[in-house]
Amino acid sequence: MKARLSISLRLPAASVVLLLAAGCSIQPWVKPYERERLADPIMSMSNDPLSDKHSVHVREVREGARGATGVQGGGCGCN
């Protein structure tokens, strides 16, 4: 009984170890010297800050949905 219990404890422990070991083995696969293209303006997720501010504002005052736009500094409750 004790041996069976011990086995049943080892299985989840081994699973945790395998899971974490798999995570530990993941290395950053895009090296800094491979990121040159990502710095180009064409790869930007956002536009200039004033344009983004305006776009978010005109939508938030007309739509029921709001938030998660990725544009920082929301919170103006103006109507």
């Binding site: 974490l20 004033l50 998660a68 920082q72």
Partner: protein
């Protein structure tokens, strides 16, 4: 009884086994990532499974020093909102960058709400903002404050955002918080004075997928408390106009996934999707997709489509046929959809004296709104309208 005694004992053994396994893993990670210097980091690796595997060598850079001047315009549904906006950003001692913004909305309002219940009016909203960015190694901290003022509405907000680069600079984790406080007034009714508070909590993940593909995942929760309606808006109950009655609290969630990649050299495609839900019963989907490419070395052109649709709030009614505690005919809370088509051009126009570049950014968007349960009381048919959105920005960086 025996079974209940055995359970804590079993849990203790399981915990001990997991602890031993973690200790072995930490030691393994420490060896893998380099001796004494990596040992403290290795503890973190062990806990989160190595996903946060060390930091990039370069660290986070402060935003560029810049000055922007924008003219913006919204024209649609009887309302015109236009004005200038300014931004100036300057870094100090290579650790802190300060920015100041000024944004003006000059409204000329003859929207359907106004012409069917009141008289057209004009007013101006001005907003001032201050932003301070601080970077330290792989962390970027942003503190911001803003103040918005219009004749019957004052709004103040503070924001704190922290971005941390992890996983060799391939992943950026963002955490943010905003708190806002509004004073709501009513024209020609000095006795009317209400307040509203707003809180926003956001978390985001920016991930480099490949040397040419990026993805962002953002989540934001927003809570409001106070006067959340309009002192001017009316609802229809049995065909009679009554002041709208809106709950004094609201809580919403939104999650957005964005992906962007260079499909061909100098040609980028991107797409995003956002799902929104709140405790007023509104659910909304937003789909976006676009394409961007260079024409020569100076001109970057962008074209995009956006589709938005939402369900109505539980207490929204075009013309209520029962008496309820809350009722609103605010079409922002109705069932509607909108489709947008837009284009943006960024042009490196000239080099100013002193060698500063002058960038010209122009954007135009056409939006079409269709309401499923908001009747135009002037015609008796469902309401719809088109709008034109314009942005013209001049930028220099120094």
């Amino acid at each position: 009884m025996a079974a209940t005694d055995a359970l804590p004992s079993r849990l203790r053994r399981l915990a001990a086994a997991v602890r031993r396994a973690l200790a072995e893993l930490v030691a393994s990670c420490a060896r893998r990532h380099g001796g004494a210097q990596g040992s403290s980091a290795a503890k973190v690796f062990g806990v989160v499974g190595g996903l946060l595997a060390g930091s990039g060598a370069g660290g986070v850079e402060l935003p560029e020093d810049r000055a922007d001047a924008m003219y913006h315009r919204w024209d649609g549904g009887g309302l015109t909102a236009q004005g200038p906006a300014l931004l100036v950003r300057k870094s100090i001692a290579e650790k802190v960058s300060l920015a100041a913004t000024y944004y003006v909305d000059m409204l000329s309002n003859a929207s359907i709400d106004v012409v069917t219940t009141a008289s057209p009016y004009k007013e101006t909203r001005s907003e001032y903002g201050l932003v301070a960015d601080y970077v330290y190694r792989n962390s970027h901290i942003i503190v911001a404050g803003s103040s918005s003022s219009e004749p019957d509405y004052e709004a103040r907000a503070v924001n704190l955002d922290v971005a941390q680069e992890v996983f060799g600079g391939m992943t950026t984790v963002n955490l943010g918080f905003s708190s806002g406080s509004d004073d709501v007034g009513k024209k020609n009714s000095p006795e009317f004075s209400e307040t509203a508070r707003h809180w926003r909590y956001r978390i985001g993940l920016a991930q480099i997928l490949t040397p040419r593909w990026l993805a962002n995942l953002n989540f934001e929760a927003v809570s409001d408390d106070g006067f959340l309606g309009s002192p001017y808006r009316t609802a229809l109950v049995f065909g009679a106009s009554v002041p709208e009655r809106v709950p004094s609290t609201r809580s919403s969630r939104a999650v957005k996934l964005s992906i962007l990649g260079e499909v061909v050299r100098d040609n980028v495609a991107y797409a995003d999707y956002r799902y929104f839900w709140d405790n007023w019963g509104i659910g909304a989907h937003t789909f976006g997709a676009g394409y961007r490419r260079y024409f020569g070395e100076k001109l970057l052109a962008d074209a995009y489509l956006r589709y938005y649709l939402q369900d109505a709030a539980l207490f929204y009614s075009d013309n209520a046929q029962t008496e309820t505690a809350y009722v609103s005919r605010n079409r922002q809370l109705s069932t509607f959809s909108s489709i947008s088509a837009g284009a943006r051009i960024s042009y490196r126009a000239a080099t100013l004296p002193g060698g500063y570049p002058l960038l010209v950014n122009g954007a135009y968007e056409f939006v079409s709104y269709s309401f499923d349960d908001f009747t135009d009381v002037r015609t008796g048919s469902l309401y719809s309208y088109n709008a034109h959105v314009l942005q013209l920005v001049l930028t220099t960086k120094f």
